[in-house]
Symmetry: C2
Subunit: 278 residues, 2 copies
């Protein structure tokens, strides 16, 4: 399979993996956000993912992927996944399968102001749950979409710079600026694990969630809730019944560790690129 | 979405629809044939489906789709689906969304001996459960793969001709030669139905199975079993608990109404082309 196909399959395997507490998975829907919305989101992302593999700039490929993803009725399904996946796909294609932290870091460090502008454009295709912008930079609020582009340009901010500005409170931005550390570690775990790939991904998800509070949960429910969720995830490791109970509880409470799911999808992509087979 | 994207989404919605008695669905795997094999099969089919939309001959697009589909560990996931989908995708793309029985019939009636040869080549990518060839044409056994091509050529058989030869015992071939009658009827039912699309598809599947014996079940278990399965499906219509029981029973017995699933996928494609939204 090509890198773009692996990326699309990673999106599908991510949503199929179960239990993935608090997220849509093979066994659970959220209210108004159902499994089939993720299927359509993955298919719609395909064109943008192929653009990334064919050498398009990260921002342009990302915006196209998000636009295609948003052609379904559930709203935001895979915005965060795509933000992590697109540079990984570009790095894999450029390096002919040699996908390393150094290679993807070169890709993200090479992003431009135009990439940043396309990233902001992408917010116009779909509603994304985000934190407030830095207090000293309200004009960079992503919710302003294209209106923020003049501020980006006057400051000369690249997409990498934008990620640096939010790395302290967004786990996906932290992947960008930190060598995709958690993505590659979870990919190693999936490669070393046994059994059906979705089961491996569910275990990797639980490990990621136990190891660090989910930043989307922090944004939506505060740091105490995010810390508690990680503690529960830690308690559920290696205990399938406990993981299932946690999945039921988080869905019922509307607590969605979505950033952890994003990193799981990215890890699945890296694992597929490294030879894991479905 | 493009016709090729709708086709890939149709493959995914088909396998996600549940209950779909005797088939892999969102809630059930078969032994050695799991949900994720269908996800990978759908992604792998994408290139061939795009070729069909871009004007490639039916046989060439079909062989490419099957080759891509087979890059997973479950074996044959969507061979039959693709046989019905590829001409529909080509017809939709040629007619800019005006997808009618007449348009797809023009496509299949225009197939050539080269299309037939590519169809035979496709059997070399994956093991497909098929019936014996016509008694008077053992040299046309599809299990011979490329070795059967000289016989095709000496007889001047197009892919449409090959389908005519098996229309009496293969429901997918019968779609080809009969104006895709059941596909369009099930698409109408999906369009007229309400609720999430996978639920509509599961109801359409049960109606199709109740209305006519599944030809894959006939091939694998005989006509009496196929007739009994249709009777049970008829009894389960409109009764979700009964449909779930039937799904458990058929999976346990290893009875797989796969042709009915193929037509359900094709019907989902037509419904998406006609404006049904996920």
């Amino acid at each position: 399979m090509t890198p773009a196909e692996h990326a699309e399959l990673a999106l599908l395997l991510e949503v199929a993996s179960t239990p993935k507490p608090g997220n849509v998975d093979r066994r659970r829907d959220l209210e108004n956000l159902r499994f089939e919305h993720f299927l359509a989101g993955a298919v719609g992302s395909g064109e943008g993912l192929r653009m990334a593999a064919d050498g398009a700039p990260v921002g342009e490929a990302f915006e196209r992927a998000v636009e295609g993803m948003s052609r379904q009725g559930g709203g935001n399904t895979q915005f965060g996944c795509l933000l992590v996946l697109v540079p990984l796909v570009k790095a894999a294609a450029e390096n002919d399968g040699e996908l390393t932290p150094a290679a993807v870091t070169r890709v993200v460090e090479s992003t431009t102001v135009a990439d940043a502008a396309d990233f902001y454009h992408a917010f116009e295709h779909v509603d994304v749950a985000v934190d407030d912008p830095p207090a000293d930079a309200p004009e960079l609020d992503v919710r302003r979409g294209s209106e923020a582009v003049p501020a980006l340009e006057s400051r000369g901010l690249t997409l990498y710079d934008v990620m640096e500005l939010s790395a302290d409170r967004d786990g996906n931005a932290r992947e960008w600026t930190g060598g995709f550390r958690r993505t590659f570690a979870a990919a190693d775990a999936i490669c070393d694990d046994d059994g059906p790939v979705p089961d491996r991904a569910a275990r990797a998800f639980l490990d990621l969630l136990a190891d660090e509070p989910d930043t989307l949960v922090t944004t939506q429910h505060g740091g105490d809730v995010a810390a508690a969720v990680s503690k529960w995830a830690d308690d559920a490791r290696g205990d399938e019944a406990a993981a299932e109970r946690l999945a039921e509880a988080l869905v019922a409470e509307g607590v969605n560790p979505g950033t952890t799911a994003d990193i799981t999808a990215a890890a699945l992509f890296v694992a597929l690129e490294r030879g894991v087979r479905v």
